[in-house]
Symmetry: C2
C-alpha cells in the first residue's frame, strides 16, 4: 500500500489553543504608535474599533490562547482541514522531493479567511456588538465575515473596492446570500469616500481606501465595530490553527518538512502555516530540525522584497495607528493584477519582524508564471487554486525542481489557501493569452516611500 | 461532548466495490431496444460508443463490481466525502428531527460527477482510447470529465448547450483549465448540429441535442468514444460509493436514516445515495428498517411526477437506443430554470423501474422555494448549495417540518450533491427578486408525449 494521499485529523484532535508567536520571539516587534503623539497605542486607543477580548489578544504574550468552544463548534463545519501528499504533482515534475499541501479551500467561503472571521464575529457578539464593518478586495475576506456574521446574528457591512465590486459580482452575491450588505468603495457613506469621489467620481478604489471607510463607520458609531482580515497580531494568531493541525498531520505521515511555503499579501495565511513551526524552532534553540520558511509575494506588489521596513499607516486616509512593517507606502497603488488578496501596500508587523530577524526568506514572482504553476497543479491534483494561492504553488514547484536538480529528496509543505472557483475569469484571461505581467511604477514607489511618516528612531 | 458535526471515514475504509442494484431487484427492468429492429440491444450495438468493460458493467447482474485501484487512488483526492449532522439547520427549523447530509461538493469539480467521470476515463484509457466526447448543460458534468481526462491523458471534447456556453463562461473556463475543448451546441461539427443550425442559426441548444452531437462524433470516429454523466446503469452504479460510505458513517454516528432524499435530473446522485440502502431493504425482505426514499425533481421538468413510463429516445436526433423510463418526450424542451443539471426529458431506467415498483416516492418543487431553502441552509450550515442540490435541501426541510408538526424525531438523510460557487448569478437573481417560477407548456408536453415512439408491449 502506497503512502496515503490525504491525512485527515479526527475532530477530537482539532487544536484547543491558538499559538501566539509573541511568547517565543527573541526580541519583541516595535509597538504600534498613535500618529498624533507618536506614543505606543494602548488598549483604550483601539476600543472604538475592536471588542476588548480581541484587543487583549492583540497585545498578549501568552503562548497559548484558548479557542472558545462555540468557535470550535463552527470550525467543525470544515476543520480539521486535510493535509495532502501531492503524489501526482511530484510525478508530473519528476522530482525526488515529497510535496505536501494543507488545503484551506474546504471552508464554506473557500479560503482560510473564516479561521479568523468566525472568532472575530463571536467575540464581537459576546461583547454585545450588533454591527460589523470591514473592507474587501476581490471578496474572500468579505464573504468570510458575511458567513461568520450569519452564524452569530451580526449585521455585516462590507466596503468592496469598486473595481472588484463592478467586475466580479459573484463574490458579492455570496456575501449577500449570507445576508451581508456590500457597498462599492469609494462610497458616499463616509467622509473618506466622499472626499475621494469629489476629486474623481470614477475612482476605482483601493484596499487602503476601503479600510478607511470601514474604520470611519466603526469609529463614529457606538453600536458598530470593525474587523480586519489580515495584518494584525490577533488575526495572524487565529490562523495558527492551520500550522498546528499540519504538525499533527505530519506525525500521522511520519514525515517532517524541510521547506515551508506560503503566499503573502497581508501575511495571515503565511503566518498560519509557518508560525507554529517557527515557534518550535525558536524554543528548540538549534536542537530541532532547521527548516527554511519561504514567503512568496507578487512581483507587482513586493512589500517584503522591495518595501522599506518603517512605520506607516495601514490605510489611505490615515485613520489607523502607525505600524512598523515592510511597506511600499500607504499612497502606493499596486497595479491591477489578478491576485486581489495580495494587493496591499504593507506586510503584517509580525511577519516583517521575522524577516528582519532572518527567520524567514522572501521571494517574488510574476502572475503569468504563477498561473502556469496553478494550471499544472490543477491538471495533476484536480484542485484549481485561487490566484493568490498560485504564488505558493509556484514557490513549491521552484523548490521541487531545485531538489530535482540537486538530487535531494526534501520534504516541501505549502499552504493552498483557497480554491479558484470564483476566479475563473482570470484563468480564462490566462488561457486566452490575455493575461500579462504587471509592473508597478518605479517613480510612484519612490514617491510613496519618500512620503512615509517621519518617526524618530 | 455533543454529537460530532461531521463523520469522516478513513481512506482505508473507502469502498472497494460498487453496488449493483440489478442483483437485488424483484423483477428486472425492461431492456433497451434497438430503434430499428425493436430487439434488445446487445454489447456489440454499444461497442462504437463505449469500451467493453463499461458495456459489461451496463448489463452486469453481479452485486459487487470491483473498483480498480487506480480509480480508488484518484478518489482519495476527495473521498471518502464527509457526512454532516446539520445541527445548526435543525436549530433554525426548531425540529426534533435529526438531519444529516452527505456532501459531494468536496470533489475537485464541486459535485458528485467525478465519481463516474474518473472510472469512465480510466476504462477508456485502459482500452487504448485517446479521445472522449460528451455533452454538458450548465457544465458540472463537462468539467468533471475534463478533470478525469487530464488525469489519464485523454483528449476531451465537450458539447455544451449554447445558451449555457454563452451565459455561463466560468464552467467552460474550468473545463479549459483542465485542458478540455468546449464547443457550443448546436455546432457545425456534426450533421445533427448543422441540421438544426440550418433551420435556426440562433438555436439555444438543448441537452438532448448536445447528446446527439457527442454521440455522432464517437459513432463516426474509431479513436473516439462517448461518455454519459447520468441515466445509464453503469453511471448510476459508479455513484453508489456515496451511499455505501454513508452507511459506514451512520454506523460511526450510531444512527440510521428513516427518510433518504436526493434531487433527480437524470437520476445519478439520487441513485448514488439511495441504492445501497434500498438494496439492504430488498435483501432484508422486511426484516430491516423500512425507510422512505424520496426523489425531488423540478416542477418545471417533472419526468417522475408528470412523465409517462414508456420507451423513448435519450436524445433529440434519435441516435440512441430506446430505453424504458419516465419521460416527458424527447422533443420536450424544458423551460430555462436555473438547475441546469435537472433539465432532462427522461429519468434513468433503473430509477423509473423502482418508482414503478413503489420502492421510491417522487415529489416536485418550484425553483423559488428551492432557492429559499438553499439560502436558509447557507446561513445555517455555511455551504451554498448548487441550484440542483437546493431541491434536495427543500425536500429535507419539508420532511423536517413534518416531523416538527408530528412531534417525531426521525432521522433524515439527504445528498448535497454539489456546491453553488459557479451558480452565484442565479443566487443574485433570486436575491434581487428577479427569479421566477417556470411553467412548462402543457400543450408542448402533450404533443411530446403523443409523439413517443410506438413499441408493442
Amino acid at each position: 500500500m502506497s503512502t496515503p494521499t490525504k491525512f485527515v485529523l479526527d475532530e477530537s484532535k482539532m487544536p484547543r489553543h491558538w499559538y501566539n508567536i509573541a511568547a517565543d520571539l527573541p526580541t519583541p516587534p516595535a509597538p504600534p504608535l498613535h500618529p498624533g503623539t507618536l506614543q505606543p497605542v494602548g488598549p483604550d486607543d483601539l476600543a472604538p474599533l475592536f471588542p476588548m477580548e480581541l484587543i487583549l489578544q492583540e497585545v498578549s504574550s501568552e503562548r497559548e490562547v484558548p479557542i472558545p468552544e462555540p468557535v470550535r463548534e463552527v470550525f467543525r463545519l470544515w476543520r480539521p482541514s486535510p493535509l495532502y501528499r501531492a503524489h501526482r504533482l511530484e510525478k508530473a515534475l519528476g522530482t525526488p522531493a515529497k510535496i505536501y499541501y494543507k488545503y484551506e479551500g474546504v471552508s464554506p467561503a473557500g479560503s482560510h479567511k473564516p479561521n479568523t472571521a468566525v472568532p472575530q464575529a463571536w467575540y464581537n457578539a459576546q461583547a454585545g456588538i450588533r454591527k460589523l464593518t470591514t473592507e474587501t478586495g476581490a471578496g474572500q475576506w468579505g464573504s468570510s465575515l458575511a458567513f461568520a456574521g450569519a452564524l452569530f446574528g451580526l449585521d455585516v457591512t462590507v466596503y468592496q473596492v469598486r473595481i472588484s465590486y463592478d467586475q466580479k459580482p459573484y463574490r458579492r452575491a455570496l456575501m449577500e446570500t449570507y445576508g451581508a450588505r456590500c457597498l462599492p468603495s469609494p462610497s458616499d457613506t463616509t467622509n473618506s469616500g466622499r472626499a475621494v469621489l469629489a476629486k474623481d467620481p470614477n475612482h476605482p478604489g483601493s484596499l487602503g481606501l476601503a479600510i478607511s471607510e470601514a474604520v470611519e463607520i466603526a469609529a463614529t458609531h457606538d453600536d458598530t465595530k470593525y474587523a480586519l482580515g489580515s495584518v494584525l497580531n490577533h488575526v495572524l494568531m487565529h490562523q495558527t490553527i492551520i500550522g498546528q493541525e499540519a504538525m499533527l498531520q505530519f506525525e500521522m505521515a511520519g514525515d517532517d518538512p524541510d521547506v515551508i511555503i506560503g503566499c503573502t499579501g497581508g501575511g495571515s495565511n503565511f503566518a498560519g502555516i509557518t508560525f507554529p513551526f517557527i515557534g518550535q524552532q525558536l524554543r528548540g534553540k538549534g536542537k530541532t530540525k532547521q527548516r527554511r520558511i519561504v514567503a512568496v509575494e507578487p512581483a507587482a506588489c513586493p512589500s517584503l522584497t522591495r518595501g522599506k521596513f518603517a512605520y506607516d499607516f495601514g490605510d489611505t486616509s490615515h485613520l489607523t495607528p502607525l505600524v512598523k512593517m515592510h511597506t511600499l507606502g500607504s499612497t502606493f497603488t499596486p497595479p491591477g493584477f489578478h491576485a486581489g488578496g495580495l494587493r496591499y501596500h504593507g506586510m503584517a508587523p509580525l511577519v516583517s519582524h521575522l524577516a528582519e530577524l532572518d527567520l524567514i526568506e522572501a521571494t517574488a514572482y510574476q502572475q503569468t508564471e504563477c498561473f502556469a504553476a496553478g494550471v499544472l497543479f490543477a491538471r495533476a491534483e484536480g484542485i484549481v487554486p485561487a490566484p493568490e494561492a498560485n504564488h505558493a504553488v509556484k514557490g513549491a514547484i521552484v523548490e521541487a525542481l531545485r531538489c530535482k536538480a540537486e538530487g535531494k529528496s526534501q520534504v516541501i509543505l505549502f499552504n493552498l489557501s483557497g480554491h479558484g472557483h470564483f476566479d475563473m475569469a482570470s484563468y480564462m484571461a490566462y488561457s486566452a493569452g490575455k493575461l500579462t505581467d504587471q509592473a508597478y511604477d518605479e517613480r510612484e514607489l519612490a514617491m510613496a516611500l519618500a512620503g512615509l511618516p517621519s518617526v524618530p528612531a
